[in-house]
Symmetry: C2
DNA sequence: CTGAAAGCGCTTACAG
DNA sequence: CTGAAAGCGCTTACAG
């Protein structure tokens, strides 16, 4: 696609079969150009990947600029990732442009327009945090030379279509469950995030694998999906506590969900961990601040942020990544919310 | 200072008494220019406020770009402000470039260089969050046409030298203390942030005013300053609990400090609020997540973020602000950590 | 080290 | 609606 020599107005004009002033008019959005001519010029511009002198220059002289799109507003979680990215950015010559988009808003945005504007502003790359991403979207950016990385993608990458950074969710889910099993719990519930979220599904399967290796049958009434919110955790807790045989331990797929569990346990006068053991997931500073402090599977969120930024910068330099999907290790941090099952 | 017509190389050359190629060389950092000539050209560039075509253009065509410098890493606090700023930014055509600087790092940075780089990147304005700011620093930016706003300045603005947004800290401190007084507490301790932080001092004076209007003498052994951290709160709590006559209530100048109070209270087997009442400050989501949930003076952090961004954009359009310092109202939110004094 | 001259890439004003 | 011509602002190559 890309011609070797740097394209200037004259190059584009030659390809489109018009004069340079006409190309200039198209670029500047003048209206004294025939529609058919405009289209011909436009496709020549696209084909040659034309950049104005200002754009060429800002790409060369200015610091790299990477956009960060936060698709989730779990304060502690996003803040940790942002923290890692900003730390890394402070060392290199990168500016980080942050924007937040609710999943709904993200779906409504026209990615071609967005990528176009980013190209015009001389952006180097874009990092999505916990978003659903399609190949078409990624293509809109990469076709314009904007590198893309996704942190903790909500959907699984359609065979290497985009590069992503995640954590070892399956292993983390397994470790959390094994910890509870080692404390003699057998009636263990799992409270997941959205059923469609890959990371939540992987945690569920880690949970199932741990149960299975102990020969314990998974009970469907102990398994709930919902959202990564307090409310979702509270609701699930109310449900399982009203079962004829309630669980003695709960593995919540995020710390925020675990917060809802703690809330309802308190309402019901259940002591954690004496009456109910609880493991969370994420290991944000939040886990240190609850009462009791939360045993949780820590994700290396700051490291994930750094890795994503590093990846975007590599890609933008035309380097290959070692792997399109990178999983960083989770670690079970035992605090005060889990205890031996009382016999 | 600024000449009326837009300055081009020829204008600068004329003022400096050299030819345009020489000015071009200076701008591009070539080394075949005599030092004395370079200086003469440099000051002509500064005086005329010369911008390259790329800079002139990006200022006109691209979206406004505002830098946000977070000087404090209290997760929940910064996240709320960031949230407000990003919300507002999503509506207008502004990109927000976030960077984080510890106070130490901030002091070491050369502001002239920084402002210079920002000008070259076509930045519109800069917002500092909870930083110490000097007039010299602000001047470095505003002289280059970069608007400055400070959120919750750590020092008080030297008579209108910079525009800032804060909360009604004095009124908030007074409200917190009056709430405790209304619950019949008289032995009320105050745990502040850094002694140099304006906002903390204002909260202290609100506390003193409330005591005074009830005719209660302030006790110096009940008043501590420190930092806006958990550790600072824990340490202060240990100290006052070992007094011959410990307080029955504590007003902590931030929710994070209050967290440290809760921690030590738990260690000592003191029940909050039965044995000890506690009021925090900030009203971040954190206050909802502690056990017991924290009575706290809420700052309108998101609104403060929005106001700062609005202010920067106004200033950059050459508009005047209604006031150089703007205080948004705090609100006491009563939750579960305060109770009537047991007689 | 400096600048007259030539050149580059884009834009503007205007004739057709 | 289109493009030859003139112009603008910056840069480069090179003579002194």
């Amino acid at each position: 696609m890309k011609s070797s020599a740097k394209p200037v107005l004259a190059t584009v004009a030659a390809l489109a079969g018009v004069s340079t002033p006409t190309v200039s008019k198209v670029i500047n959005g003048r209206d004294d150009v025939a529609e058919s001519t405009r289209l011909r010029v436009q496709s020549a511009l696209d084909e040659l990947g034309y950049r104005s002198p200002a754009q060429r220059r800002s790409r060369l002289t200015g610091p790299a600029m990477v956009d960060l799109v936060i698709g989730v507003h779990d304060g502690a979680y996003s803040m940790e990732i942002l923290h890692g990215i900003l730390d890394y950015a402070a060392n290199g010559e990168v500016d980080v442009v942050v924007s937040s988009h609710t999943p709904n808003k993200l779906a409504r945005v026209d990615h071609e327009d967005w990528a176009q504007r980013m190209q015009e502003s001389g952006r180097t790359g874009i990092i999505f945090v916990t978003s659903e991403v399609t190949s078409a979207q990624v293509l809109a950016f990469s076709r314009r030379g904007i590198a893309v990385m996704v942190i903790d993608p909500l959907n699984s990458p359609p065979s290497g279509d985009f590069a992503s950074v995640g954590a070892t969710n399956w292993a983390g889910g397994k470790a959390a469950t094994e910890h509870l099993l080692a404390l003699d719990h057998e009636r263990i519930a799992f409270f997941g995030g959205p059923a469609a979220a890959e990371c939540s599904v992987a945690r569920l399967h880690g949970y199932l694998a741990a149960l299975m290796s102990r020969g314990i049958a998974a009970r469907s009434d102990y398994i709930t999906d919902g959202a990564f919110t307090r409310e979702s955790g509270a609701e699930a807790t109310r449900r399982v506590l009203s079962l004829p045989e309630p669980p003695t331990a709960i593995f919540a797929a995020s710390d925020t969900i675990a917060l809802g569990v703690l809330e309802v346990a308190r309402e019901r006068g259940l002591r954690v961990p004496d009456d109910l053991s609880l493991v969370g997931f994420d290991g944000t500073p939040l886990a240190e601040q609850t009462l009791p402090r939360l045993t949780s599977v820590a994700q290396p969120l700051q490291e994930m942020g750094r890795a994503a930024l590093r990846g975007v910068l590599r890609l933008s330099h035309g380097e290959q990544l070692d792997a399109t999907h990178m999983e960083l290790a989770t670690e079970l941090v035992v605090r005060d919310s889990t205890a031996q099952l009382r016999s």
